[in-house]
Symmetry: C2
Subunit: 138 residues, 2 copies
Amino acid sequence: MRKRGGGQPLYEQIADTLREQIRQGEYVPGQRLPPEAELLAHHGVSLMTMRRTLALLREEGLIATRRGMQALVRAQPVRRRVTLSAGSRLIGRMPSAPERQQLGLERGVPLLEIHCSDGTIEVVGADQVEVVQPFGTG
Amino acid sequence: MRKRGGGQPLYEQIADTLREQIRQGEYVPGQRLPPEAELLAHHGVSLMTMRRTLALLREEGLIATRRGMQALVRAQPVRRRVTLSAGSRLIGRMPSAPERQQLGLERGVPLLEIHCSDGTIEVVGADQVEVVQPFGTG
DNA sequence: CTTGATTTGTACGTATGTATT
DNA sequence: AAATACATACGTACAAATCAA
């Protein structure tokens, strides 16, 4: 149970704690967090505050939540390699909800627009991409 | 005022409408959306549903919200140009809340990690960056 | 500069729907 | 079929930032 110290909202304080626990390996990718009910009881907050915490971590791409299942710590996905051709540009942004659905992306996954020199635009989830140069070492 | 047609949540339906209105220029960058109270009355939903709609658009980077002010339609920021050196890699992801604060990023702005071949890592907000190759035309 | 009105942010409570186990 | 668990959606109250008088 926390108080409102430091002017930081409760849901951010709890998010800090969970983020640190995940970083330290208390929860590893593929593992599930405890149920909401358990988490909120442990931290002494309401359901809404707990859900806001989880929403924050989901936005960050740290966890994935699905109906009927406890929150899952997200694994580092295998990245697809994309080669930037000469003159191509790359823009990062968040997808709109329709784009997210169309591309099959989870919440918290940014989107990369690769504007190729031939005018074509390739759009992919940013967590699936590793960009290298055509003459890159990788 | 909508019903639950198509199985799509209310807040997504309303977000679709607002997104389209912004796309069509009914609200231009720098302009403010109507107050929450007005929006929720117009769409016939509760405060929570309206706030969820705005949260979605904020995550997408389409609007920015601040306490005491109506939601602002975000302008396309001037992009900083970053040159990828040979062997460098680029990863896109969402910043954690502390990173967001440290980098002074708004919610909804992804982050780009540029792993340079010399081992240094440059971290910047994705909406501030345009990536080009050293021999690029741009 | 201070006051007050407006507006969003945070937080709690409750009920129902729906997917998973 | 039943229990578990997250998603959606309504309602309420107070705090804090902004802006105008």
